[in-house]
Symmetry: C2
Subunit: 366 residues, 2 copies
């Protein structure tokens, strides 16, 4: 059974389809969109090896003319140069305004494909087929596309909406378990910031640490609720004027830790998990959240086998300094997204450094 | 006295201000837009030498923090690489979401600055200060931004609207006369395709061949009516679905001639002038337009000292073949925009090659 979320924006609308075991029928979904004949699949070699043939065969069977272009995996290739190569291939295959770029991959592939689609011939069709849990519930929704500048992540990009987001949760079976857990961190985030039902549903699960330990129907529901949460927030704030900031729950300290550890030891989801634990504790210390709720959040993080503590080699003072350098910081004041309930957060402008420091020290791994 | 055209689109709105002798007060206009403090002026060395100081001083006096970046003149530099350099400078000066890129120059500078603004931090503010007549009445309006691909013009780009288009017609005094005339070709085009009043006003002028021969108030009106014509058409068709095609009047054969002569001997406006003469004759032969109206158009083109004939070294058959290769051609059928009155055109899907050939042969310079 497929679930559909309709995303309606002032100038466009599209569907997020969640349909387990249906990757082989994706052509049917594209067929209903009245796209032009040409589709170019952008992927990375590993993912393409798993799912490329299935997607291409389905598209061909539906009558599309299909091309493909592979980009090596990882942030290192998330560059303007990779986009330039997509342009060359788009020219080679004579893609037209009505043609489609289809992103088959995780967040990096989605961001790059979206940016290429946004900027080739001033915008051609874009379809997202996320293959990581993180991309399904986060990166593929909201229209953020782009690449890195040598000196900063995602500095080059555009807001550009897809014509379709197509999610087959079964592709997660080839996702490394650590990446599955990283996606689960964002799922837990939606439970804390937006949807109490989702939170309760996660609590009702025995395990959240791998695909094998979650019932497929439950997984589909969890993905749907997560997507819906992001859609709700983004719909109210497409261009990041205000509300969208709550999606950064757990990301403030998370980003600082990612940056200090060079984006290598700890992945994004793990950093967010640590950041949520910290934010929860800060909220408790600020009298905004109960200790019991904070504990319930931390229990979910544990159930997803995500980290809750900070390596003691990371100096708290260093983390606080990094926070103050963040681009989201205004005039040195660190803004935190803090929970006030299960499913509800508030934006708190000034948290004293001493409170942050105390919490970080409490979280040091012993 | 300044004239203002309000452009209202579904998702944004902005003003086109035409204000002679007011470049030195541009800061005031930006001040009312609630932009962030940082403005980066993008220009080319020659234009910056003429007007850079005036613009920068006015912006500084209004309280902006101003930076500048120069790009060498010409299509050769309209590349992704030039944009990449703008990104580097944007990073160096730490431009923020609320910062502004201001294009001070002709169409090339405007297109590039707009694309950089569209894609830095997923979109920052963009202000157009066109310094050529062509950019004032055409390129600066409609939201088309972009750069060339080595194998094709404007293949990389985005639709992105400015926050303000600021036109001081007096900057045209430093524009080479041949470029002034090229802009006048587009002005005449608006008279033919959209605005009979404008056409009549042009007919009432003794000369249209240089700034010195036109009264400043009349020039302001002509620019205003031309901008309004483009705004009217684009407003009804922002993303080029249908009506916008009429702006290509004169461009079908014009582009073929530009392409065959290597974009060097003949400039864009001159090619459009020749294209309009040809389209007029085709319309007459197709029984859509009167010979008298066609002659009135050709008289305006002559008055602007624009070319009306085709060099006999250009083979008509070659032009027709080039038409059939154009990206706007569907299934080998050449679509023409043809006049049906003064101020009115129609789209004609299939014009027999023999008719085109006869007209081209008639236009051969003897």
């Amino acid at each position: 059974m497929s679930s559909v979320i309709q995303v309606t924006l002032p100038h466009t609308s599209y569907n997020i389809v969640i349909d387990p075991n249906s990757l082989g029928t994706i052509g049917r979904y594209l067929d209903s969109l009245q796209l032009g004949q040409k589709v170019m699949v952008i992927s990375n070699p590993e993912i393409f090896n798993y799912y490329g043939k299935t997607v291409i065969n389905s598209l061909k069977k539906t009558g599309f003319e299909v091309f493909s272009h592979l980009i090596p995996p990882g942030e290192t290739y998330k560059t303007l140069d990779s986009i330039s190569q997509v342009y060359d291939v788009a020219l080679k295959y004579r893609l037209e305004r009505s043609s489609t770029l289809l992103a088959l991959g995780g967040g990096v592939i989605g961001d790059m494909t979206g940016f290429a689609a946004a900027t080739w011939l001033r915008g051609i069709n874009f379809v997202q087929v996320p293959t990581s849990l993180l991309a399904m519930v986060d990166a593929s929704i909201g229209g953020k596309t782009g690449v890195n500048h040598p000196q900063g992540k995602n500095l080059i990009g555009a807001f550009y909406q897809p014509r379709l987001v197509f999610i087959d949760p079964m592709v997660l079976k080839t996702l490394p378990v650590r990446e599955f857990r990283a996606g689960m961190a964002e799922v837990i985030k939606y439970g804390v910031i937006w949807n109490q039902d989702l939170f309760n549903q996660l609590e009702a699960q025995k395990n959240l640490d791998s695909l094998d330990n979650i019932n497929l129907e439950i997984l589909q529901e969890i993905i749907k609720k997560s997507c819906q949460a992001k859609v709700d927030v983004v719909n109210q704030d497409e261009k990041e004027a205000g509300l969208r900031a709550i999606l950064n729950y757990g990301h403030t300290i998370g980003h600082a830790i990612e940056s200090l550890t060079g984006y290598s030891q700890i992945n994004h989801g793990e950093a967010v998990a640590i950041g949520m634990v910290a934010a929860g504790k800060i909220a408790v210390k600020s009298g905004m959240w109960t200790k019991e709720m904070s504990q319930r959040q931390d229990d979910l993080i544990k159930k997803a086998a995500l980290p809750e503590s900070i390596d003691k080699s990371l100096k708290s003072q260093k983390i606080i300094e990094t926070l103050q350098l963040d681009k989201k910081v205004k005039a040195g004041k660190v803004r935190f997204i803090l929970p006030t309930n299960i499913g509800k957060v508030d934006i708190k402008e000034e948290i004293p450094s001493e409170v942050i420091n105390t919490v970080l020290e409490e979280m040091k791994r012993t």
